[in-house]
C-alpha cells in the first residue's frame, strides 16, 4: 500500500503546483495594489482557451503556448487595469478592496459570457501526443506532461523572483508593495507600477491557465473554482508572499490527495480546508507571513 500512498502524494503535488501558480498572480496584485481581482479565475480560463485555440488551429504544443498566453494575458490585464481598475488607485484601502471586488464580479460575468459566445460552453482540454507518458520510478509513476507543468511553474516563479529582485521595474514594484507613499515620494511612477503589476498578475493567470489545459478541463464556468482556491492558498501562504503562496498551493494539493486516501475521496477537500483552518488558528498570519 505504501507505493500507492506515494503515488497519491505525487499526484497531489502535481495538482498543488497548479493551485500555487493559479494563486500567485492574485497574490501579486493584492500585495502591490491592495485590490482583490475576483475575476482572476476567469483570467486563468482565458489563458486555458489561448492554449486550446493554438492547439486546435496549429497543433501548437501547450508548453509553447505558454509563451503566447503569458504575454497575451499581460496585455488583457493591462487593458483591464487601464479601463477599469485604474480609477480606484487613489481610494482608501478599504474602498479599493471593496470596489475591486465589485468590478471583478461584473468582469467575471462578462468574461464568462464572452467565452461561451466565443467557444461554446463545452469542456475543453489539450491532449498532445505525449500525454499520458510517464516516468516510472519503482512502483510510482510521474506523468511527464504534468511534471513538465510543475517544472515550468517553478521556472516562471524563478523568473518572477529575478524580475522582482534584479530589475528596476521589479524593485519599484516591491517598493510600492512595501510602502506606497514612500515609493511615490522616492519618485516611482505609481500608476505605471500598478499597470505592470496588474499585467504581470494576469500574465501569471494566463500561464497557469495554459498549464491547466494540459491536465484539467477548461470551460467558461471554471473561474469561480480557481478564484476560491486561490484565495485560500494566498491566505495559507501569507498575503502578498509569492513563494509562500506557491508552497502553500503545493501543500494544499498534497494534503487533499493524501486525505482522499485516508478519509474517503468525498471528504478530501473538507480535510484540506480543515487543515487550512488549523494552520490559521496556530499561525493567524499564514504559513510564511512576513513579520
Amino acid at each position: 500500500m505504501t507505493s500507492i500512498h506515494v503515488q497519491n502524494a505525487v499526484f497531489g503535488l502535481l495538482i498543488g503546483g497548479l493551485y500555487g501558480l493559479g494563486a500567485v498572480g492574485l497574490s501579486l496584485v493584492f500585495g502591490v495594489l491592495t485590490m482583490l481581482n475576483v475575476a482572476h479565475g476567469e483570467l486563468i480560463m482565458l489563458g486555458g482557451y489561448v492554449s486550446i485555440w493554438l492547439f486546435t488551429l496549429w497543433r501548437l504544443d501547450p508548453f509553447v503556448s505558454v509563451l503566447v498566453a503569458g504575454p497575451a494575458l499581460f496585455i488583457v490585464g493591462a487593458g483591464l487595469f487601464w479601463v477599469l481598475f485604474r480609477r480606484l488607485i487613489h481610494f482608501t484601502e478599504e474602498h479599493k478592496i471593496k470596489n475591486s471586488i465589485l468590478i471583478g464580479f461584473g468582469l467575471a460575468l462578462v468574461l464568462q459570457t464572452l467565452a461561451i459566445l466565443a467557444w461554446e460552453a463545452d469542456e475543453r482540454a489539450v491532449t498532445p501526443s505525449y500525454a499520458g507518458e510517464v516516468l516510472a520510478l519503482g512502483g510510482v509513476v510521474v506523468p511527464l506532461s504534468r511534471l513538465a507543468a510543475l517544472v515550468l511553474a517553478f521556472v516562471v516563479l524563478g523568473g518572477l523572483h529575478l524580475f522582482l529582485t534584479h530589475t528596476r521595474q521589479g524593485t519599484a514594484i516591491r517598493a510600492t508593495a512595501e510602502d506606497e507613499q514612500g515609493a511615490a515620494l522616492a519618485g516611482i511612477p505609481i500608476g505605471r507600477v500598478y499597470l505592470i503589476a496588474f499585467g504581470l498578475g494576469s500574465a501569471l493567470a494566463g500561464v497557469a491557465g495554459a498549464l491547466v489545459s494540459v491536465s484539467e478541463a477548461i470551460s467558461p464556468a471554471i473561474g469561480l473554482h480557481w478564484t476560491l482556491k486561490a484565495l485560500i492558498v494566498i491566505v495559507l501562504g501569507g498575503m502578498g508572499n509569492i513563494f509562500g503562496t506557491f508552497v502553500a498551493g503545493v501543500f494544499l494539493g498534497v494534503v487533499e490527495s493524501m486525505s482522499g486516501f485516508l478519509f474517503g475521496n468525498a471528504y478530501r477537500e473538507v480535510v484540506g480546508l480543515a487543515i487550512f483552518l488549523i494552520v490559521l488558528s496556530a499561525r493567524p498570519q499564514g504559513l510564511f507571513a512576513r513579520s
Binding site: E123, S219, P220, S257, N265, A266
Partner: protein, 400 residues
C-alpha cells in the same frame, strides 16, 4: 453629470425592459415555456437542448403549426436562461406561467429538472423534460411530469444486457468497478448497477464515491486496478470524466470496458482527449444514426446550423416538442389540464422512436449504446437500429 447620465441610462433601460413584459399571450400562437441553462456549469448541455427545441418548433411551424380544434396555430417558444441555478429556474418558470404558456419544456441536469418539475406540478402545467436520468424524481407522485428519456433502471439493466448480447460468454468483463459521484443520481445508479450485476453474471469488485469536481482520482483508480476490475461504470460530469480518462492512462489502468454517462456526450470529448477518448461507451438515450422518422431531416438542419449531425441530447429535446405538439392537437384546446391528459395518453413516433408514457411519466425508450470510435460517436446498440460493431475489448493504453 456623469452620474446623472448613468442613472438616466439605467432607469431608462430598466423601464424599457420591464414595460412590455406584462403583456399577456398574444392570441394566435401556442406558447411553450422553456427554462434552459445557457450560462453556468450546465451551459454545455443546455445548448444542445436549446437547439433541439428551436429546430423542432421551426419544423412544426413550417408544416403549418398545430391543429387546435378548428384552427391551425403556430408554436411560440418562450425561452429563458436560468444560469444553472435552481432558484432562477423556479422564479423564471413562475414568470412564464403568468405569460400564458400551456406547457413547460425542461432544461438540463437533474437538480434543475427536479426543481422545475415541482413548479409544473404546483402550477398544474404539463412538463416535458429530457436529459435527466434520475428516477427518483418520478417517484414523487407527480402528475404533470413527462420524460421520453431513459432512466437509471433502464441504464442499469440495459448495460449488462448489452454486454451479454455482444460479447461471448467466455470473454465477458465480469469484474466491475463503479465510480459513483456523491449525488442522489450517483447513489441511485450505484445501487442499481450493484443489484443488477449478479443476476447478469457480473461481480462488483470495487465501488467508490467521490465528490463532483474532484481533480485527483488516483486513489480510486489505483484501488480499482488493484481489485482487478475489467469494467468501469461511471456517471461523471464532463470535467471529472476528462480527469478520470487521463489518470487511468497515466496510471496504466486498462479496463476492457469503460462506460461513462454524461461526460462523453458532448462532441468536444474527442477534441479534448484525442484518441485517448476512444472505446468509451455512453448511453445518451439517442444517436443521430438512430433509425426513426424525421431523424434525417433533423440531422440536415443541424448540419446546416452547426456543421455536424444532431447532438445526442438534441434528438430527445426535439422529440419533447413533438410529444407536446401532438398532445395539444389531440387535446383540441389550449387548456393545460386537457393537454396533460392527452400527454399521458401519448402514442406517437418521434425522432427517438415510439413514445408512450408509463404511469410515473417515464417513457419506455429503447436503450441505446454509443461508443467513441476513432474520434466519432458510433451507435453500437441496439442492432436493429443501425448499429455498427462494438469494439471490444478496449485496446490497452500502451498499444494505442
Amino acid at each position: 453629470m456623469q452620474r446623472f447620465a448613468v442613472i438616466a441610462l439605467i432607469a431608462g433601460l430598466t423601464l424599457a425592459l420591464i414595460a412590455p413584459q406584462s403583456a399577456g399571450a398574444p392570441s394566435g400562437t401556442i406558447r411553450l415555456g422553456a427554462v434552459v441553462p445557457l450560462t453556468g456549469r450546465f451551459a454545455s448541455g443546455g445548448a444542445q437542448v436549446k437547439a433541439g427545441y428551436e429546430i423542432a418548433v421551426e419544423d412544426i411551424n413550417a408544416r403549418g403549426g398545430v391543429q387546435v380544434g378548428t384552427r391551425r396555430m403556430p408554436l411560440e417558444l418562450v425561452m429563458l436562461d436560468d444560469e444553472s441555478n435552481p432558484t432562477q429556474t423556479v422564479s423564471r418558470l413562475e414568470a412564464l406561467a403568468t405569460q400564458g404558456v400551456v406547457a413547460y419544456l425542461g432544461g438540463f441536469g437533474s437538480d434543475l429538472h427536479a426543481a422545475a418539475a415541482a413548479v409544473a406540478e404546483k402550477n398544474r402545467i404539463p412538463y416535458c423534460g429530457v436529459a435527466f436520468a434520475l428516477h427518483s424524481v418520478h417517484q414523487q407522485g407527480f402528475k404533470y411530469l413527462f420524460s421520453p428519456f431513459i432512466k437509471s433502471p433502464d441504464i442499469a439493466t440495459g448495460i449488462y444486457r448489452f454486454l451479454n448480447g455482444t460479447i461471448p460468454a467466455d470473454q465477458r468483463p465480469r469484474r466491475v468497478a463503479i465510480f459513483a459521484e456523491r449525488t442522489d443520481w450517483g447513489r441511485e445508479l450505484d445501487r442499481l448497477w450493484t443489484s443488477r450485476s449478479t443476476e447478469n453474471g457480473y461481480q462488483v469488485v470495487f465501488s467508490a464515491e467521490y465528490t463532483v469536481g474532484t481533480r485527483d482520482f488516483s486513489d480510486v483508480i489505483l484501488r480499482a486496478k488493484a481489485a482487478g476490475a475489467e469494467t468501469v461504470l461511471s456517471l461523471p460530469t464532463p470535467p471529472d470524466g476528462l480527469a478520470i480518462m487521463r489518470q487511468m492512462k497515466e496510471l496504466d489502468f486498462n479496463p476492457r470496458v469503460v462506460l461513462m454517462i454524461r461526460a462523453p456526450d458532448a462532441p468536444s470529448w474527442t477534441q479534448a482527449l484525442g484518441k485517448d477518448g476512444d472505446y468509451v461507451l455512453l448511453t445518451p438515450g439517442w444517436h443521430f444514426n438512430f433509425r426513426a422518422p424525421g431523424v434525417a431531416e433533423l440531422n440536415a438542419k443541424h448540419q446546416q446550423r452547426f456543421g455536424r449531425p444532431a447532438d445526442v441530447i438534441t434528438g430527445p429535446s426535439y422529440a419533447c416538442v413533438q410529444v407536446v405538439a401532438d398532445a395539444i392537437q389531440r387535446a383540441g384546446r389550449l387548456d393545460p389540464l386537457a393537454i396533460r391528459d392527452a400527454m399521458a395518453a401519448t402514442n406517437i413516433q418521434t425522432v427517438v422512436g415510439p413514445v408512450r408514457f408509463r404511469a410515473d411519466g417515464t417513457g419506455a425508450q429503447p436503450f441505446v449504446v454509443v461508443q467513441w470510435q476513432n474520434g466519432t460517436q458510433q451507435l453500437v446498440w441496439p442492432k436493429e437500429m443501425g448499429a455498427v460493431p462494438f469494439q471490444y475489448p478496449a485496446r490497452p493504453w500502451r498499444e494505442r
